[in-house]
């Protein structure tokens, strides 16, 4: 399997980029969305663990831009461009955004997963980045990793095993 030293870990409300033989991984996505950007020619990849849909609701003093869909995706893009990626080759894949708990008459917080997904899609559209594949929704957690050598996104869940996008 994959050597641990080549794995770049992305925590909750975090983002990172990598190249060549690196694998970028985030674990335990629930309502959060794991969004990846990839340049297939240069084999450069990036991943953001998006927690909330919009930075407009943020009340924190120092904004963590990796946390919100509308700020994380532009930041991830610029980090990837800094690494040498070519703008118009960049493609996206994403996974997560589930509803871990279903309640009758759930409030807005309950719908945070689907809202994260919508918000990520909107951000991608605004940046004109094609979304190649997604594995979103449901009511289960996911661990995902992108192989920078191939751009393949591996999704692992307790109930459904491993899936490849």
């Amino acid at each position: 399997m994959i050597e641990e030293q080549s794995v770049i870990k992305v925590g909750m409300a975090d983002l990172n980029v990598g190249s060549q033989e690196k694998v970028i991984r985030t674990t335990g996505l629930g309502s959060c969305v794991g969004l990846t950007l990839y340049d297939p020619e240069k084999k450069l990849g990036g991943m953001a663990h998006v927690m909330l849909p919009s930075s407009e609701i943020a009340r924190e003093g120092k904004l963590n831009i990796a946390k919100f869909a509308d700020t994380a995706i532009p930041e991830l893009l610029s980090r990837l461009l800094n690494l040498g990626a070519i703008r118009n080759r960049i493609v996206a894949k994403m996974a997560g955004g589930s509803q871990m708990f279903a309640f009758a008459g759930g409030n807005d917080t309950m719908r945070i997963g689907p809202r994260n997904v919508e918000s990520c899609k909107r951000a991608l559209e605004e940046l004109n980045i094609p979304l190649l594949a997604e594995d979103t929704g449901g009511s289960y957690g996911r661990t995902i990793e992108i192989a920078c050598s191939t751009g393949l996104l591996y999704i692992r869940s307790v109930q459904k095993g491993v899936k490849e996008l």
């Binding site: 925590g11 909750m12 409300a13 674990t27 335990g28 996505l29 629930g30 309502s31 959060c32 927690m51 909330l52 609701i57 943020a58 009340r59 924190e60 003093g61 963590n64 946390k67 589930s98 871990m100 708990f101 279903a102 309640f103 009758a104 917080t109 945070i112 009511s139 289960y140 957690g141 996911r142 661990t143 307790v158 109930q159």
Partner: protein, 195 residues
């Protein structure tokens, strides 16, 4: 922080009593820990973001809203089921509908008992919503309780209580994550200034 620890202690004490009545034997519990933790560290408390856990989740409503999780390892969940519900052959990866339902109800009783004692102690109204059960990765489950904190920063206040039943290793954890706006109320009700 000491005051919050005492609050957790009383809550867990009542929950432990409820559990020991269910099991008809004494239950020990650890002294609660009250910590301000980074999001990543919270999942680490149950063995990591990918660790498979059973969780009963209750949204707490009332004057001091928050999120309450009762977390069990799969082994502890099976052990608890066989002891309490008299389900002797809890085997295989998947639990049956009936087993899940029993587990949900046990979690509900314990969480309700935990919560009502907190409400008594603080004189704040706190009542649970309908419980929901999930078996999944700890990170995916717990992140749900951190969303309100996500708007404020990257840390959350966690009141973490473990209780255990001697050698039989039924070990469970209560994670209470009060909403950010609940702290001043909880502190005030206890007569402690909040900075």
């Amino acid at each position: 922080m000491d005051v919050l620890k005492e609050v957790g202690n009383i809550g867990a004490g009542n929950a432990a009593t409820a559990l020991s009545q269910l099991l008809n034997k004494p239950i020990d519990m650890a002294v609660p820990k009250v910590q301000l933790l980074g999001f990543e560290e919270i999942a680490e408390k149950v063995g990591g973001a990918e660790e498979l856990v059973f969780a009963v989740f209750l949204r707490v409503e009332g004057e001091a809203p928050g999120n309450l999780f009762f977390i069990l390892s799969p082994d502890a969940a099976r052990s608890l089921l066989s002891r309490v519900a008299g389900i002797s052959e809890v085997s295989g990866e998947e639990l049956s509908e009936m087993e899940l339902s029993a587990l949900n109800e046990i979690g509900n009783i314990l969480a309700g008992s935990y919560l009502s004692s907190l409400a008594d102690f603080t004189s704040l109204s706190m009542y649970p919503t309908v419980p929901a059960l999930a078996m999944d990765m700890a990170g995916a489950i717990l992140s749900y309780g951190l969303l309100q904190f996500g708007q404020m920063g990257d840390d959350a206040l966690l009141i973490d209580t473990t209780f255990l039943e001697g050698q039989d290793e039924i070990e469970g954890q209560f994670f209470l994550i009060p909403d950010p706006e609940s702290f001043p109320k909880i502190f005030k009700s206890l007569g402690v200034p909040f900075e």
